[in-house]
């Protein structure tokens, strides 16, 4: 019970999010209309992805400092889940864009940034799979993980703000909070961020356990 309170919290929050997302009240907005409900899913997925990437880079640094192979596994699995969240965020964004911007994939700097980011992390997994030796793989992929993190963050946070973007909060557009949200939406939006992030951590922890079991089993023989 001590260990699992956050899992229960996660389930409760996500049920609350989904129910509110489907039947809850939202403000009437021009163009956005009912698609504003996507803000409970699309935006928190990106927040979750960022958190997971930070965790992945953090464990990469820890691995380089300590050389503990478990940290390398943590780092890889966090990156894995971050990638999943990235793809999901991309898909929900495409659905949303289809109805509000009239095009699932418009030429938007933030979309380009995310496509590049997903490519970077895909390269990370290819790099991982090309080494046999555990320590060598851990060290080199940790180094690349940190480079990828340092390349991705300015790409997605700074560059879109300098050019014109369709996304709110970029290129002179007002951010979400200003006009589109009212308190009813905020009551769901902020818990949703926590809920999706917790789910990401949960998925990652399960995969890490699986990996550790596999490694221990392989070591027995």
């Amino acid at each position: 019970m001590k260990q699992s309170w956050w899992k229960i919290l996660c389930v409760v929050i996500l049920f609350y999010t989904i129910i509110q997302g489907l039947i809850g009240a939202i403000p009437r907005q021009p163009i956005l209309n009912e698609t504003l409900r996507n803000v409970y899913f699309h935006v928190p997925l990106w927040f979750g992805m960022m958190t997971l990437m930070v965790a992945s880079a953090w464990f990469a640094i820890k691995y380089l400092r300590g050389g503990n192979i478990a940290h390398d596994e943590y780092s890889a699995e966090f990156a894995n889940t971050a990638m999943l969240y990235g793809v999901l965020g991309f898909a929900t964004g495409a659905v949303w864009g289809n109805y509000t911007w009239g095009d699932p994939l418009p030429k938007d700097p933030k979309l380009i940034a995310v496509e590049v980011g997903l490519l970077i992390y895909a390269a990370y997994f290819i790099l991982r799979s090309s080494f046999e030796d555990e320590q060598k793989r851990g060290r080199l992929s940790a180094v690349y993980n940190i480079i990828a993190f340092a390349a991705f963050m300015p790409l997605v946070w700074i560059l879109p703000r300098l050019t014109d973007s369709l996304h709110p909060g970029n290129g002179g557009n007002p951010a979400f909070g200003k006009y589109d949200m009212d308190n009813r939406v905020r009551m769901v939006f902020y818990p949703a961020i926590i809920g999706w992030t917790l789910l990401g951590v949960w998925i990652t922890s399960l995969r890490i356990r699986l990996r550790v079991i596999k490694r221990l089993k392989a070591e027995q023989f």
Binding site: V116, R139, L140, Y144, A151, P154, L159
Partner: protein
Amino acid sequence: MQEIKALIEKEIRLEWRQKYALNGMLLYIVSTVFVCYLSFTLKVNNIEPITWNTLFWIILLFTAVNSITKSFTQEGAGRQLYYYTIASPQGIIISKIIYNTLLMLVLSLLGFLIYVVMLGNPVGNLPMYLVSILLGSIGFSTSLTMVAGIASKAENTSTLMAILSFPVILPMLMMIIKLSKSAMDGLGWETSYDEIGILLAIDAIVVSISYLLFPYLWRS
């Protein structure tokens, strides 16, 4: 400082002794430009300014990837072990970055010359275009040197080099193409301070990361 100077000198001397590598790179850039010349201007005799610019940077990108890949692979494992015993990893990465910058600068300026001769020169603001070439060379060599270091430890170096380097270099490439496009259109300097600043900032980030992380790479 003394160490870095000695290492750069060693790199240049090494390159000068094996001239085939340098000549190979030069021939590579000349033939690529010639292929573009044949396919773009021979029949139609007309090339759009945007295509001109993009093509030039793509040629430079591939030249950079090809020439920087060998900065770690051309020295055998034994000799690397020798360097490991006598030089600090920081000195080695900084010297390699500086040397690759010089190499890229030479290659890209020569490439630009050949390119202008063959495909015409629509550049409006030449000094600014040269600055963008300078920034591009620095940017390519800084980010590719570290990636080359990673890729050289694996078996399939050249594939891995391409996969690892292209996404990392894309944001830089976008900025450079934007900067050089304004230079082509003959816009003034004040329109492009943003891009120059961002490019320098990205370079600074990459150099500092390489400086911090290379010791871990070098150990293996």
